[in-house]
Symmetry: C2
Subunit: 233 residues, 2 copies
DNA sequence: TGTGACATATAAGTCTGACTTTTTGTTCCC
DNA sequence: GGGAACAAAAAGTCAGACTTATATGTCACA
């Protein structure tokens, strides 16, 4: 799924990043660059580069005479794709998946509404194609093929919204959908109602009906919330 | 507003980051670490650390025998607070402000709905206090005081939503609101209707009326969209 | 006893130079 | 013309020496 770390500093991050995001070092823990360099058997320069990257993600803070301090979770750049991947790979996966699904429920309906206004004819066609692909693979345990078209569908919607902030969430949605298919629920075929909704969204976008596209997408994301038991008490 | 770069590599980033995000180096441009080190009069190690940070933001990619390649805008980590600040400081500011306002319009109503369900009594009190502060400073060109309470209000809503992804957008909202007050429109007192809406949102949250809190917040954000002329054609 | 100035130790920060590794592009031969 | 061998270029890595900021402890003085 994600590329393994390029270069030595990348290898270090592949171990240190997940460890920190997993909460292995509580906030306030102090590490020393020299010690880390010895532990990972790399030179100080390599370790310094790794620390700089962690610092840019606001996972740690480096201060003279003190060392490398692990920051509190509320400081982390939780939108950094790398941080998201690390957290999805760890024990915090369920909580992370919930956070991201709530984010989806806010963003995707608005994105669909914008897409209905701004999508190019090509994007409309792509959307229809994806929806048809979902229909075609919605029966007979063709989960991988279904997932592929599902991800593509949502990516097109987010891109067609014309908002770069939305577009950049395509990867997040892909992770969430893949997570749902591979790890969590979904042992049987997808909900036919959800499939129908996707087809209808594609129709609404093509028909330039923003209000309808938004409402239908909201139904889709509310279904996703319910699957994870995120409801009003 | 933002802290100046810590250490030499931070100083380098303070000029190189804005330059890249401003599109000064078109996508595909190739830089060489040694040359950059000379240009900024720092050692190669310092320059390498700076490049590592830019790489973690997906602004550049470093490859052997090639150099440091500037990546296309669609690759950038546009949610990185540092990247957001750099772009807001450059000529792309208006476009960036629009993107972020659209994001707000998606996120804040949902966050307000969640806040109505999950806010602690303390948060409800804070919210009311902020709204009252806005009312008290809504007349007589007390723009700074008004802004202060406005920012606090939206931060509380985002935090009270209980979703960390929402909570981390507090800084973004602060930038957008500050930008509106300082640079763009708003020479006169804020719209009384908007002030009233904030008060009503605070009431709705305290009354645990999620649906109402969401709808009212949507009205607020739609007002923000209209200010920037983001409308259906 | 408390407080301020000063000394000291510590860990990050910086610089330099030498060496390694990967990758690209060229050249040369079949 | 195509493929293999080769050379050059730039990033990557390492080791060591030195600098700087700063937390903390010490001591004198009030």
């Amino acid at each position: 799924m994600s590329t393994p770390g390029r270069g030595l500093h990348g290898r270090v991050l592949d171990t240190l990043g997940p460890a920190i995001t997993a909460g292995e070092y509580p906030a306030g823990s102090v590490l020393r660059t020299d010690e880390l360099a010895q532990r990972f058997e790399v030179s100080r320069s390599v370790m310094r580069e790794a620390v700089r990257v962690l610092e840019s993600m606001h996972l740690v803070e480096s201060r003279r005479r003190v060392g490398v301090t692990v920051l509190a979770e509320c400081e982390w750049n939780v939108y950094d794709p790398q941080v998201i991947r690390w957290r999805l790979a760890g024990s915090e996966r369920p909580r992370q998946l919930r956070s991201l699904t709530v984010l989806r429920s806010a963003v995707e309906p608005v994105a669909a509404g914008l897409a209905a206004r701004l999508a190019t004819p090509e994007q409309c066609a792509e959307l229809t194609e994806c929806a048809l692909g979902m229909v075609a693979n919605s029966r007979g345990h063709r989960l991988e093929e279904y997932l592929f078209h599902d991800v593509a569908f949502h990516r097109v919607v987010l891109t067609a919204s014309g908002n770069e902030m939305f577009a950049r969430l395509g990867g997040v949605v892909a992770e969430v959908l893949a997570g749902r298919t591979h790890h969590d629920v979904m042992f049987e075929d997808p909900d036919p109602a959800a499939v129908t909704l996707h087809v209808q969204v594609a129709e609404a976008v093509r028909a330039r009906d923003a209000e309808r596209a938004e409402r239908l997408t909201r139904e889709i994301t509310e279904g996703a919330l319910q699957e994870l038991d995120i409801l009003a008490p």
